[in-house]
Symmetry: D2
Subunit: 116 residues, 4 copies
């Protein structure tokens, strides 16, 4: 990977992204219908993902992950939501492969060592 021509750089081959999608200008304060639509789409894509109360985490290549999150926006737009805002936390690293489940496991192992 060369930094001499940065505009030709590829995007990262692996990343973990966590996103929280918010519909704006919807009739009610509930967002569960929209979140359920997103979950159904994620399931259909075959990507590895996990929902929690503050968002959904997925992993894959940068392009794949960002493409899917973009499709989530498009899906809600197609279903009538005129404005959507997402917060995405995305991480990439070159020192090792680490999926989102590994991250939790590592911390839990440290905490388990506290006992005894």
């Amino acid at each position: 990977m060369s930094a001499s021509e940065p505009t030709k750089l590829p995007t990262p081959s692996a990343c973990v992204a966590d996103f929280c999608i918010i519909p704006i200008g919807t009739p009610t304060a509930s967002v569960s219908n929209e979140v359920a639509q997103v979950q159904r789409l994620l399931k259909q894509t075959g990507v590895k993902y996990s929902m929690h109360s503050a968002g959904t985490t997925l992993e894959g290549t940068w392009d794949e992950v960002m493409h899917i999150i973009g499709q989530c926006h498009s899906l809600l737009h197609a279903n009538g939501v005129v404005r959507i805002q997402s917060d995405i936390r995305v991480g990439s690293r070159t020192d090792k492969k680490q999926g989102f489940e590994d991250k939790v496991a590592k911390v839990e192992k440290l905490l388990a060592g506290d006992q005894g």
Copy 2:
């Protein structure tokens, strides 16, 4: 709650916050030690919280929640991290009480209805 004197408004009596804390300028790319320290502090506070791979969610009054996240910064500073950045997603609502577990349950109920 009056908006006529906004600078005297109280903060919300309930909120759900999800935060991802990142130490900057540490010797290694691993953050699991710092995350474990944060989890130990959260446990000691008695606040309701849940860790996932992209952060930790907690609920309580606005002041309580923000005070605890600030203490997490101070704890890492006290343990030698000179710079810390957090991303916090925080929500408050006045239409009903909703804890972070309720949010997931509601979406899962919708998704469960897909089958059968």
Copy 3:
């Protein structure tokens, strides 16, 4: 600052926070009225702040900054918004004092060195 009793730790004495506030369940997709209300409140508090297209940055003690962002939520609630979600990026550091204007100035100085 001692980490031996973490639940008694004070919050950081200085921080820079950038927040983006989103009203949920409002009749229109526009959020400019809500953002304007927030700006008026910030002005009244006397805190140092700066609005940009993706949020508003403010600086002060941790408690002060978080109290004001909480009041922004309460103000919108008082004005009829039943649900509000904010994304807050907050940083604290112990190695030096740095306001939000200093951060931009430092990068611009580096970029200015590119010319000539």
Copy 4:
């Protein structure tokens, strides 16, 4: 745009994204060198962007914007940063075209009406 085959949906044709990029495991707490590298890359891409103290805002198609942010990660990786975390706030809307400069202008117009 049809939602009947969501996995074939295109990504949004326009979006505004604001990102804050954080190098992890670097020798110092300063991030200004990394931010400057990102700004140079953005300039070379020709995308419309604006730096502020808490991030950089850019606008374009979803694919273009996310590709460029991914290249920013790759650039820092190429320059030796082994782990990078970004927070991205991204919005899309179908009711009208709105660039990031329009958003600030609209709020400032509302605030200007306060005087006189």
